[in-house]
Symmetry: C2
Amino acid sequence: MGRPDRFLKACRRLPVDKVPVWLMRQAGRYMPEYRALRKDHSLLELVRDPDLAAEVTLQPVRAFDMDAAIIFSDILPVLEELGFDLSFAAGEGPVIANPIRSAADVDRCTHTPGRGRLEATCEAIRRVCRTLNGDLPLIGFAGAPHTLACYAVEGGSSRDFALARHFMQEEPAAWGKLLDLLSGVVSAYLQAQIEAGARAVQLFDSWIGILSPDAFGSTALPRIQSIFEALERFEVPRVYFGTNMAALLPLLHQTGADVIGIDWRVSLVHARNLYGPEIALQGNLDPTVLLEAPEKFCAEAKRILDSMVGQPGYIFNLGHGVIKETPPEHVQALVDFVHAYQR
Amino acid sequence: MGRPDRFLKACRRLPVDKVPVWLMRQAGRYMPEYRALRKDHSLLELVRDPDLAAEVTLQPVRAFDMDAAIIFSDILPVLEELGFDLSFAAGEGPVIANPIRSAADVDRCTHTPGRGRLEATCEAIRRVCRTLNGDLPLIGFAGAPHTLACYAVEGGSSRDFALARHFMQEEPAAWGKLLDLLSGVVSAYLQAQIEAGARAVQLFDSWIGILSPDAFGSTALPRIQSIFEALERFEVPRVYFGTNMAALLPLLHQTGADVIGIDWRVSLVHARNLYGPEIALQGNLDPTVLLEAPEKFCAEAKRILDSMVGQPGYIFNLGHGVIKETPPEHVQALVDFVHAYQR
């Protein structure tokens, strides 16, 4: 297990003994322990059972020297709070049986707290925190309103979310209303996660990259700002992560995030030059590199670490989630390499 | 029909009477004339029959006031020149039955000119040019080596081309060899298109956005350069188009392109500031906007046109291909709006 304060100190841009490291989707199908549980349980069963969710959260923490745990869940169950009917088709992606197809559909959405069984995730957080007992911080998370709204309109995943893009243009008021509804749900959910024990929170905005900078500024950005503002009083680090957002990079300091996580398509040095030392950075090893031989991914990790030497406020991570074909011993080798790294 | 020299003049950054306009995928499923032909013919049948391909190419030129035609084809048939077995599953994307799975698979690839029946496309170009009779320029095109290699390894389309990204890291020499092979095929193919009558050529690099700037510079870029260099003696404008390439934008002037086409995620003004007046620009209306009411897409087109006023070397286009649900009358209204535009 990693060190209790490394991750949180780096989020606050304080000096650390070693570069902290955790990996997005560090609990998941690449681990045999996880696959064993998935034989008897669906993804949503694992998410909705506090014992199982806590167990899955702890699997990578027990197996590797991670500097943070992240609660095991999915970004989409919050949609159930607004009445969306969510399922995961076997071997495929998420399916929303009653997607948004008109402005009237948005009007019918109401927030009924508890309908989404998010309390199970908060209970899992409490259990994980009891087990961790202060030895490691737990990160809570949620999907960002834009990405959640994309799924709500598209009805599932998509290569380019053309339906969602169409809807946001045809019905800007309804799209804005949907974003506001989701902001309220996400905000309350993240607050509940913090109250349950999460020591940091990350907003995942997987599909923010479909927006132009103008559209981002006028639709997605104000909702991220309002969520992060509402969390300010808790004084926990707020991480914003998106992919494919090179064109949006110059705007991201406006989110109010303490930490910005970037994918492998953009360079950390470029981000640092844009934001200056006031914002911590997280990322950005290409997860496919972790499928290669250790000398290869360690060389790539070294290149990244070299570029951040002497920069306070840097957290090592991948540029996206761990790929399910990744050998677990590669994850251990990477984490050890980051911790052993000396300039 | 538009004006014969507007498009070519804008490519060369010469003054024009009106902003030239053509649309990517201007021939396609949104047109009832095209759907009528597709009832009896598959996509590949249309591509491989010079009469049908010429007919489809001319459909949007007859229907709308386009300033250029683009030959009807697909980027993937060039893969057949290297022995790949290509088909299009009904209602789904392309399927390559014998994808690259190892370095040895690349070694087995050899270029057998004529195997891919690309001559049909060149013959279609000759027929279109005879019909157009100099009244309108015809654009030839090909996929860029990186994007073609992604399909060759992945075996079809994909959300993130993880197999291809894995392969390019695990087997950099084989990936490079595959890119070189494809560069040779693409280069010869574009030369043949120019010799058949194409007055400009566009390289489509749909999946370039999965690369980091470093990877782009060391793998994809030199092959684009060599293709464009080989075409230099023909003195036809060379257009480079990719999507999701905001992070790569500062490198694209190195491609040797006369015109750079960008998607809706990046701003034309930003591109102009990067490249200066030496490179013409093409784009970038979000194709989903064209599903909206005319007052909406015209307002968006006006915003784009306003931003390029007084900039020589600008060609109006979408940021990606026309979506199949687009009403044909919207295409006409857009083209008319661009031509009627006055500062």
